[in-house]
């Protein structure tokens, strides 16, 4: 194979694994990134002449590690890490000479990225950059941040990992549930950032939903028996299955209840259902299993043509008890409105504290919809106006403008 193509492929397939291996040993994510970047540069110079080595990853690790040790010696400030690095040097040499694969440390890296000591706003970007190798500019676009500010946020988070001595370990059993929650939330945040932009108005934002699903699959591979991991992946797949159906050919917004089920992805729904069924076996319910179960109920419309709102309202009840987020509270009010009428739904919506709803667009969209059904046109118009003013998605905005006019 052509050397440049081989390097690109290794970069695409193995950057996360290589970085995790190096970072777990140097305890310094930024230094590991620099070392790995040096190794890729060296490969670009050497491989075209020598050919692609038998074990390209091991070759890169050996070079990266050597660079890491050089830097450590040069800086003479991180001497404590040098013995670990030298041990890692031997390890990498050994890996290059034997048949064994180098150990996959990405699970440790995922837990580091979502460590409670790391700024919550930095966790998802850090995962996307270190585990998947996305560049900071693309991550910044997805989270509507200035690229330079995102770069700083990532740099600060890496410095924190190093300076605070955050351990490169999988948490012990007693800590695992809460620490795993943070990992799952960070992955789901990446999914959410990609979801808004189905119109593809900004192509740089397009891919993040698939990247998040990739992270979900990776985590499932590393923790195959965790029901909440299965739940998260099932949830993302259920949502992703509807991507095509969420837009008309002209790019218009189509609400869930009006989507053409023939345009839903059967393979994704089936995979999500299998995951959810497997998760239920563990007998440990959790937020992501509940959210996936709600989406699973919606998916059944593809089979029998109807939506069981009674069951959905019950699942939201459970979700609100597990995780009373503003999203769950608004979702519950919507489900209750379907089961017990708009007036009851409106009462649930009004019970949500004012300070939580201020700029939360879905609240105002639902309020507008319910007020319209309750034949309170003036209040509905005010709520529509608010929902429209808070919209980021042009297709959703156009849909609401149309809804506000039709009475």
């Amino acid at each position: 194979m052509d050397a440049r193509r081989a390097i690109e492929q290794v970069a695409r397939d193995s950057t996360g694994r290589l970085l995790a291996f190096l970072a777990a040993r140097s305890r310094d994510v930024a230094a590991a990134e620099d070392g790995l970047a040096d190794a890729f540069r060296a490969a670009l110079e050497v491989w075209p002449h020598t050919g692609v080595p038998d074990k390209p990853e091991a070759w890169l690790l050996t070079v990266a590690r050597r660079r890491l040790i050089d830097r450590t010696r040069h800086a003479r400030v991180r001497e404590a890490a040098t013995p670990t690095l030298l041990a890692a040097a031997d390890e990498a040499q050994e890996l290059a000479e034997t048949e064994s694969m180098f150990p996959d440390e990405r699970l440790k890296l995922l837990f580091i990225c979502a460590h409670p000591a790391i700024d919550a706003a930095a966790r998802t970007p850090l995962m996307l950059q270190t585990v998947l190798g996305l560049d900071a500019a693309r991550i910044a676009s997805a989270f509507i941040m200035q690229p330079a500010a995102m770069g700083q946020r990532l740099t600060r988070a890496k410095a924190k990992i190093h300076d605070a001595g955050i351990p490169f370990d999988v948490p012990v059993a007693s800590m695992l549930p809460s620490r795993l929650d943070a990992v799952l939330e960070a992955i789901y945040a990446a999914y959410g950032s990609g979801w808004d932009d189905l119109a593809g108005a900004d192509p740089r934002r397009m891919g993040l939903a698939m990247e998040a699903i990739g992270l979900g699959r990776l985590l499932l591979g590393l923790m195959p028996a965790e029901p909440e991991v299965q739940g998260l992946l099932a949830l993302m797949l259920h949502c992703e299955a509807r991507r095509e159906a969420r837009r008309t050919a002209a790019g218009g917004y189509v609400p869930l209840s009006e989507q053409d089920v023939a345009r839903w992805s059967r393979p994704m729904i089936e995979e999500a259902e299998r995951l959810l069924a497997a998760a239920e076996q563990a007998g440990r319910i959790g937020r992501f299993q509940l959210e996936a179960a709600i989406q699973s109920m919606h998916a059944r419309r593809a089979g029998n043509g109807r939506t069981d709102w009674e069951a959905i309202a019950l699942l939201y009840e459970g979700l609100v008890r597990h995780a009373p987020t503003i999203g769950a509270l608004v979702g519950r009010a919507a489900a209750i409105a379907e089961v017990r009428g708009a007036a009851t739904g409106w009462a649930f919506l009004q019970a949500i504290p004012d300070e939580a709803v201020g700029s939360y667009q879905p609240y105002w969209a639902l309020a507008a919809h319910l007020l319209k059904r309750l034949d309170r046109p003036e209040e509905a118009a005010a709520a529509y106006s608010r929902a429209i003013g808070l919209c980021e998605d042009p297709a959703m905005r156009a849909f609401l403008v149309q809804q506000a006019v039709v009475t």
């Binding site: 200035q146 529509y384 106006s385 003013g389 808070l390 980021e392």
Partner: protein, 119 residues
Amino acid sequence: MNYTILIYETAADFAERTDPQKQQAYWARLPPYIKALKDAGVFVGGAGLEPPETATILRRRNGQRHVQDGPFAEAKEQLAGYFIIDAPTLDTALDWASRYPATPGGAVEVRPNLPPMQH
């Protein structure tokens, strides 16, 4: 802290203002956004601007005054208006900028305002 959201539009976007088919949708975009800014208590000020061909440029060179038809620079996107908002951080300001109902060819720019001058 105050931030200015500068709204840029293309010639085609400006043309929608007077196109009988499109002008209603063009103008209807704006009131809900302005209301959302006001309801959230972040609105400080702002204005829409007449199209670039109405602009006049003044320069003083070697003591001579030059008056020229605008706009300042021939660019694909021209300034169409601005908002001044009060937001705690750039991130919040960018959130509000991302909600601006931009025209298809348009773009928005966000700049931190300098602190008020002492008189």
